[in-house]
Point group: C2
Chain length 156, copies 2
């Protein structure tokens, strides 16, 4: 079955912020992104997973330049957002595979993750759409990640 | 600033599986998706967020029909995958907004989340790409979610 993966991309200008322990009730996600939008902060990935108990973690990525402004805003607005903890890092890169025929193809994801495993690279976060699988890895591993995935899929 | 949101889509044929407490070391994500690929299981969203301690939660969605096969596979392979817990639900729908100019636009996300908040709909999960913001909501809220978002963005 043909894997229609077209390319691997890497973005080093990434900071990842996680709001840990946000109350899982309507309006919390809105409050976070309204705050960011109001201050002209662009976001790339937004990831919210299963969470724990009646709380969720909302993670998102910005440019490195926006990290400090975001942290300042979160501090100013902490009584609105009420996260238990804010975790953040700049030592992260986004590596993505882009394709057309990847729709619902767990084999493509498995192959991408195998490439990273073979290169001993840990996957910090994952987010997918039909045409793109993105992972966050440590910045120091980003170059090797691209090479490994490129070789695995035998991209020209 | 023009929000180039083109449409709202809804998918009711969704089951969500979460592998909670997977060891955060290289190869774990690979083992999960290799297992699924080997058995011809398609996945739509894959979401892995910040996790807790040295463990991560890996969530993914499949069709409702594939839920039981996936749970059976996870049970058979639990010594390989070693998640602390498997959580799952069928009572979930994926609602997405699709657009062209949404790249990095936190305002678009804020507006989508505002629509859901106004309709008192809780957002269970979030995953984004440049052209798509997807959320999981309770199945019972899916219809209302589409209407609310459609009206908010004044889509024709
Ligand atoms: C945690 C957050 O996503 C919340 N469930 C909301 O709907 O806004
Ligand atoms: C948790 C899982 O993603 C692990 N970090 C891996 O690289 O496979």
């Amino acid at each position: 079955e043909k894997m229609l993966v077209r390319g691997v991309t890497r973005d080093n200008d990434v900071a990842r912020i996680a709001l840990c322990g946000v109350e899982d009730t309507p309006g919390k996600a809105f409050s976070v992104f309204r705050m960011l939008a109001k201050h002209g902060i662009s976001v790339d990935l937004i990831i919210q997973s299963i969470g724990n108990g009646n709380k969720k973690d909302i993670s998102f990525t910005t440019t490195e330049e926006d990290l400090q402004p975001v942290l300042d805003l979160l501090e100013e607005n902490k009584d609105i957002i009420k996260a238990d903890e804010v975790k953040w890092t700049k030592e992260v890169s986004k590596v993505s595979i882009v394709g057309a025929g990847m729709v619902n193809n767990s084999g493509v994801a498995a192959t991408m993750f195998e490439a990273l495993y073979d290169a001993h690279i840990n996957i910090s976060m994952i987010a997918t759409s039909e045409i793109k699988i993105s992972v966050l890895v440590d910045r120091k591993d980003a170059e090797a990640a691209v090479v490994a995935i490129h070789d695995k899929f035998m991209l020209k």
